[in-house]
């Protein structure tokens, strides 16, 4: 059905912990037509033009009628989003982007911070397909991963925290470097750029396949602004994160 643009009602919007929020919007059409790793754009308000640009959010879950997101309040955009209440409407458009390509290989899902969102969706999809897979999520402390509890009915995961307050102590990338991932694996990853760089390096070392979902500045999400350029690794020029991505084979891009 292509891209849907609509004023969607907010069903839930609440803080979990440490500035991490869960947002749920009513949007059956997008829920039905999307796949793990895709995202939508949310316009923050039609009553003011500042902050101006819409924001991109990856689905963490798609129910039959709603889309669930995880976001962290880091700036003015998320500050304003956190002030919305159930019943308020936001303009959204999606589904956007390519999403993950599920392969037959042994799946290892590596998420950092809110980057866990699309991997929760992917994990649920893999379970639906009966695929064995591992989901590993990292955060600074236990509180940074508390949002995962909201999804415990559908996904299981292993935690890494920098202070050891939950799961293993260390970085989520330690899961790969500690010998859990070999050439037979396909890594699916989303998180901060630094983490994605390390994941890509480690995947190359181990000879594993590796898909990474990249966050870049985006103005349109539809392929027209050219603001989301991602340098190609093997030739000159750029991909567009919004239409060629946000998921890329880590060997194809320079990040």
């Amino acid at each position: 059905m292509g891209v849907v643009l609509e004023a969607s009602e907010i069903v839930k919007n609440y803080e979990i912990s440490n500035g991490f929020y869960i947002l749920e919007v009513f949007s059956p059409d997008i829920a039905r037509s999307s796949a793990p790793g895709q995202f939508i754009m949310i316009n923050l308000s039609h009553l003011h033009n500042d902050p101006l640009l819409p924001r991109a959010y990856s689905m963490a879950r798609r129910t039959t009628e709603t889309l669930v997101f995880i976001y962290r309040v880091v700036g003015r955009g998320t500050g304003l989003l956190s002030e919305k209440r159930p019943g308020d409407r936001v303009h959204v458009w999606g589904p956007l982007g390519n999403g993950f390509t599920i392969t037959d290989r042994k799946a290892v899902l590596i998420g950092g911070g809110t980057g866990a969102a699309p991997l929760i969706d992917l994990s649920e999809e893999m379970s639906r397909r009966g695929m064995d897979h591992t989901l590993v999520c990292g955060g600074r402390t236990a509180g940074d991963l508390k949002f995962m509890d909201e999804f415990s009915d559908v996904v299981k995961y292993s935690a890494y925290t920098e202070d050891g307050s939950l799961g293993e102590k260390g970085f989520v990338t330690d899961y790969i470097s500690n010998g859990n991932v070999g050439a037979e694996a396909a890594i699916y990853s989303c998180g901060p750029m630094g983490m994605l760089r390390r994941v890509s390096e480690l995947a190359a070392e181990k000879g594993a396949e590796c898909q990474i979902s990249i966050e870049t500045p985006m103005a349109c999400g539809l392929g027209t602004c050219l603001g989301c350029a991602v340098p190609k690794r093997n030739s000159k020029g750029y991909y567009k994160a919004c239409t060629d991505g946000p998921v890329f084979d880590s060997k194809e891009v320079v990040i």
């Binding site: 292509g2 033009n49 458009w93 103005a219 539809l222 602004c225 340098p231």
Partner: protein
Amino acid sequence: MADISVKLGALELPSPVMAASGTFGFGLEYRDVLDYNKLGAIVTKGVSLKPREGNPMPRIVETPCGMLNSIGLQNPGVESFVGDLLPQVKGLGVPIIVNVFGETVEEYVRVAEMIQSTGAVAGVELNVSCPNVKCGGIHFGANPEMLHEVTKAVREVTDLHLMVKLSPEAAVIEAVSNAAEQAGADSLSAINTIRGMSINIETRKPRIATTTGGLSGPALKPLAVRMVWEASRSVSIPVVGIGGISTAMDAIEFIIAGASAVQVGTANYTNPRACEEIADGIAVYLEERDIPKLSDIVGSVEVYEDYTLK
């Protein structure tokens, strides 16, 4: 619905609302979300003689009520545009105006010739004002003589509608407007972006890789309205208003200032249905006030004469 079709010289457009260059790709991207019948024209992303990769990242950054961009005129080049894209774009049924860019007069002329020869395009918009490219761009638009030269050269090779896009960085808008008119432009469009800068105070690096980028969006609107007013008073060809238009009210403000039609840029990003809503809103405005034709209000601003400063 009121009839909102407009004529720009000999060019008839079904609506006064065009999608601005660089904000609507080559026209295909908005098909799922927008009623293309509401569009007056699609102005394509800037097309140059050779393909251009564009600038390194970061290329865009949000600013108060606006954004800076420095895309670097990334485009597949005129050959690929004519061979691969135009056949698809043609099928949309919307008049196509090709935004043309060169680093020399010859490049402008050669691109315009190739566009002319396709027979599938309604007009050419000369981007003489893009602030992002080392040599070329900025200078043509800032300098009346150079603007005259490039406009005249293109005029000689095309009978398509020839629109010249003004730069807000020209010291005197009247001078560049007159230069373009005298060189044979069929219309002016105003304005392109104005250079701004934004710095990340943590890294102390510019938020745009090329240090400065072009400001667009609502922040720009008061400047753009003023320049459209100034330009339209100094020429007799039509002026197309651009700059921060995101609602029908904004568009009407430009029209009352002197614009015969408008282009919508950044608002396509913040609301992919912006062009459609603006066209509908203009029709409603006319109907509610029993104004028969849009042209009745073009340039109808009533300044307080006694107090007007030059």
